[in-house]
Symmetry: C2
Subunit: 448 residues, 2 copies
């Protein structure tokens, strides 16, 4: 059977789901096209370390083409899928060209959601892409520069306030890292300000940090955050964000840097499939990960909404990888002509981890054995090094971490981009200062 | 004598000149302010390696604040000088604030010059900043992606043409590296195209490559470039650049990537000094590096035009560093009240090097002992590692080079920025193909 007779599998998205699906089809008698609008696979669990100046982009990103160079039944295509026509079995691309498929795997993931307040995006960037990470890094470093340059103490203060909205794993990791930066990395570098005066404020709508983790883990993480000097505000809802800071109900925090880690929304490509979506825009897939009514279109990763054994499959890389391998097996069964190709997906929870600054983390193994503190942090390091793609990345991340750990410095404190100097802050509003003890406000919509 | 009684030295620019002036003032009884519009010092000699996907930005850039953290008579200020008033002894900043000085060192360097054709900048980016390097990297990588995605061979071909304008050190280094990428780094990664089909065309107005080097070095570099498959076109003048390619007199090369390494112009800040400038906009300084008519304002580095012993001081980092140290000594003598503070600057030429791809370079030591080939390349590696700022950078650059050398891969093949997908190429013009043997055209204006 020649290559051209082979069935064509199109995978959209080179994240964990798409990449693992592609790899699992390595020996299958199919032609595979992996389509992504970025040329690189991104190791998203470490993206916050690019944002907080520990790692370089290339430490956590690798060209998809290079990862799959030896997989000869596969071609990589740089391009963006605009829509999917499941009846005609074709994907329409950004340049109106079409890509016909026999089997389709949609793994385009999620993006930030501002719960309908899209104008907040300007003031409070989220963390999904390398560009996002570099933008956050730029804002954080510029804030210290602006504070150093500002002679008026009244106007200087807000530059040293860092507000993070959302205390899921990303928010907790960002808060921990920002506190480290303030207390250690920048310590000796300024003349007018003391970076340790910075306030890192973590705002969460629900009643605990890491709401998707077991409650005991939340309690430990909360304690570790407070030890790092992070101000945690639970049951607090963000009501407005502007260039000067955030409003939390009737109180206001003037802040030079506001970061968004609160919500995600599914990739808009899902809407073109013509199947039911959940409230976050995710595709409500069948237990086999096929979309309702079809056995040739699969949705995996953060774009899929699925309950297994009565519990939602979490939006983590391990789940996406398992789903990718599952649909690859399904496709292999289908091209062998087996009538029972569709099997139910089972999620195997190997564990969940979140770091909280230098030398501290919380996590569990297999959803049972709970760990925290320094040992959990070491386990987190090991797991992340292990899963990093490529020898070079593993090596360089290890060196970067060793350097940061031993020197307390951040290796990648570069301000790059188009806006290199701080903008003038808007004049402070004439209103009472925020009270020392915030009143609890109504909870925000739950993040993801 | 308290700190506030001390004379205030303002240094504008944290490149090699400004940084070395600052360091040489470490023990002086002065207050120093180092002003830069970027937060980082850039090791410009290796910038082309960021552009060609071998090094990360943080490998060759370090926060100025961090480099000088232990120099307690100095503060670093992130900001941009707009103009200088030598009569009032004040620098006006981007936000109209003013910085008063007792002594001023202007070291703001140079930028690209398109010889009055500024609209070429869009089509042919130059290489001065980290953003420039990332933009060039993006264009080069996108070109291969676009070629792979283009089904029409006629339209595919130009994406694999890379034209570099200017065969000074930067142009030669870029050409060598781009040829390496085509012939080795990307070899196995594509399905439709063979990256080795790429053409790298180096265009130079003068009659030899590396025109500022001794003629024998030019000849050796030329031979090494041709061995790497680079097409060298001497005495060839660029007459137009557009989105589709370049015109060289009456011939035209359709090219997806055109890079500019031909000319530099002095920083526009020089114009506000009110002193004579040369044709490239550089300040014609006195033999002491002071500007005419003043003994408190000095210009160093690429912004200064000076002849020593009848030869112009070259625009290289070594010269800038020596000039920085010279003006620091002058300022120290002046604050000690010595009437003979101004001494003549002597340039000590330790050597000049240029690499030409993997394992090849040309250079000379002390302007006398000439070396080329693999040994020159090793010397070049050693010298650059030695001068790189910071332990982390040295270590990481060594690792990156070892990785690239041993694996033939490029570690940093990331397309980032706002334009992530190739634009459609303009339709090919209906005109005769370029002749196989180009006719020599009139020489371009000399670079620098």
């Amino acid at each position: 059977m020649g290559a051209s007779d082979r069935k064509h599998v199109v995978i959209i998205g080179g994240g964990f789901g798409g990449l693992w699906a592609a790899k699992a089809l390595r020996r299958a008698r199919v032609r595979v096209t992996l389509l992504d609008r970025r040329n690189h696979h991104l190791f998203q669990p470490l993206l916050y370390q690019v944002a907080t100046a520990t790692l370089d982009p290339s430490d956590i990103a690798a060209p998809i083409r290079s990862i799959l160079r030896n997989q000869h039944n596969l071609q990589v295509l740089l391009g963006e899928a605009r829509s999917i026509d499941v009846a005609r079995k074709a994907v329409t691309m950004q340049d109106d060209s079409e890509l016909a498929y026999d089997y389709l795997v949609v793994a385009t993931g999620a993006t930030h959601s501002y719960f309908g307040k899209d104008h907040w995006a300007r003031f409070a960037p989220g963390l999904k892409s390398l560009e996002d990470a570099l933008e956050i890094r730029r804002r954080v470093l510029i804030a210290y520069e602006a504070a150093e340059a500002e002679p008026d103490p009244e106007r200087r203060r807000p530059w040293l306030n860092f507000v993070i909205i959302g205390a899921g794993p990303t928010g907790v990791e960002l808060a921990g890292a920002l506190s480290e930066i303030a207390r250690h990395s920048l310590r000796a570098d300024f003349r007018r300000i003391d970076p340790a005066d910075a306030r890192v404020i973590l705002v969460e709508g629900q009643d605990r940090v890491l709401p998707t983790f077991p409650p005991e883990q939340s309690a430990r993480a909360h304690k570790q955050l407070e030890r790092l000097g992070v101000e945690v505000r639970l049951k607090t809802r963000v009501t407005d964000i502007d260039a000067g800071g955030v409003a939390l109900g009737d109180q206001r925090i003037e802040a030079g840097t506001v970061l968004w880690a609160a919500g995600v929304a599914a990739s808009p490509l899902a809407r073109t499939l013509g199947v039911p979506l959940d409230r976050a825009g995710r595709v409500q897939v069948q237990s086999s990960l096929a979309i309702p009514g079809r056995d040739d279109v699969f949705v995996i990763g953060d774009l899929a909404a699925l309950e297994v054994d009565g519990k939602p499959v979490p939006g983590v890389s391990a789940a996406a990888m398992q789903e990718g391998e599952h649909v690859a097996r399904t496709i292999k069964r289908a091209i062998e002509g087996r009538g029972d190709a569709l099997h139910k997906f089972h999620y195997f929870n190997r564990g969940t981890f979140a770091t909280i600054g230098r030398g501290a983390a919380v996590g569990d193994f297999l959803g049972r054995l709970q760990v925290s503190g320094f040992l959990a942090w070491l386990a987190w390091l090991g797991i992340h090094i292990f899963f990093l793609i490529g020898f070079r990345a593993r090596l360089f991340v290890m060196f970067s971490w060793a350097y940061s750990y031993l020197s307390h410095r951040r290796g990648v404190r570069l301000i790059t981009g188009t806006q290199l100097l701080p903008e003038r802050r808007p004049a402070l509003p004439e209103q009472p200062k925020e009270p020392a003890q915030p009143a609890p406000a109504e909870p925000a919509p739950p993040p993801n």
